[in-house]
Symmetry: C2
Subunit: 194 residues, 2 copies
């Protein structure tokens, strides 16, 4: 075992590269988009990003942690509840999400399949990808209840599971995720448009 006395393992003569992190995430995301989670190795990501193995492992302990961060950061922005009604914010959020899923569906499906094969990955996927995204929708529904856009009896966890579940279901069954589906789901939660 060697002891690193430089404060940065791969700095031997090279300046610390602040762009390494983003380059690694961009490479990880692009490779998984092209080949699926199972079709990409850490070695592929290192080669594509042009960094050392040490640089990658200093930031991410596993391929799973890296890929999930890369996909979550590359995902859609949270709903915007400040500029208008929660109903509009939900429809807009779902549509942005569906645009992403339409482009990147194969890669997301490969992540879901990985959860079945690998219990450790399943826990990370749930904590770092599913839960934060779920939270965006439950925050929106809580705001809608607080503003009186939804009734106080709204079952927020169940409505959140139904919304997410509906597009996972369509994604996994290779069915279209389009604007009309975003509007229809919104109407199921908020009632028919005014």
């Amino acid at each position: 075992m060697t002891v690193d006395t430089t404060g940065g393992g791969d700095r031997q003569g090279r300046p610390r590269d602040e762009t390494a992190g983003p380059a690694i995430m961009t490479a990880a995301r692009a490779l998984v988009l092209a080949h699926g989670y199972d079709g990409v190795s850490i070695a592929d990501i290192i080669r594509s990003a042009g960094v050392s193995r040490q640089t990658l492992y200093r930031r991410w302990p596993t391929k799973a942690a890296l890929v999930l961060e890369a996909f979550f950061q590359g995902a859609v922005a949270p709903p915007d509840m400040e500029s208008g009604a929660c109903r509009t914010a939900l429809a807009d959020f779902l549509q942005r999400l569906f645009d992403q899923l339409t482009r990147e569906g194969d890669a997301i499906r490969s992540l879901i399949a990985q959860t079945v094969a690998d219990a450790d990955f399943a826990v990370l996927f749930r904590d770092r990808f599913v839960r934060p995204r779920e939270r965006m929708v439950s925050d929106l529904l809580e705001t809608a209840v607080a503003r009186g856009e939804l009734g106080a009896q709204t079952d927020i966890p169940v409505a959140t599971a139904m919304l997410h579940g509906a597009f996972w279901y369509r994604l996994l069954n290779a069915e279209p995720l389009d604007r009309s589906f975003a509007l229809a789901l919104t109407a199921q939660v908020f009632g028919p448009p005014p």
Copy 2:
């Protein structure tokens, strides 16, 4: 290539075995429950059922077709709309389904994962497993609209996707599928209990 002139390839001296089909399906189902779809071969099923390769292939052209039929036949009975309200029939159906998914979730997850890896399997899974089960729920919702238990404006395809999606989502995220979730989903569709 040999030509079968007996009208039944494995009848040489043996009586035609009417129990072979059920034995093959029982074996296929038990093996996939124990080892997942990917962990079971046609050879395993033949050995376990005690039939010839020819007997199996005469009835099912592929492992996929056999396993999907075995799982669909072993699945829950359709909702019973004759003995009461559609709302009660839905809650009861969901609960029976959740009992099954709680026992057999790993195997069903392995079938869903297989759809990601194998496009031909995905088509069969959708046509022989997903669609028929979806039809049970959309038939129920149509009956509810016809009887006035649901409003005429009910978006049946979207409500069906939300119901199925919600439990796929919980199943894939290893969350509980219990009676309270069955009742909560029913209330989302039919409104709060009377």
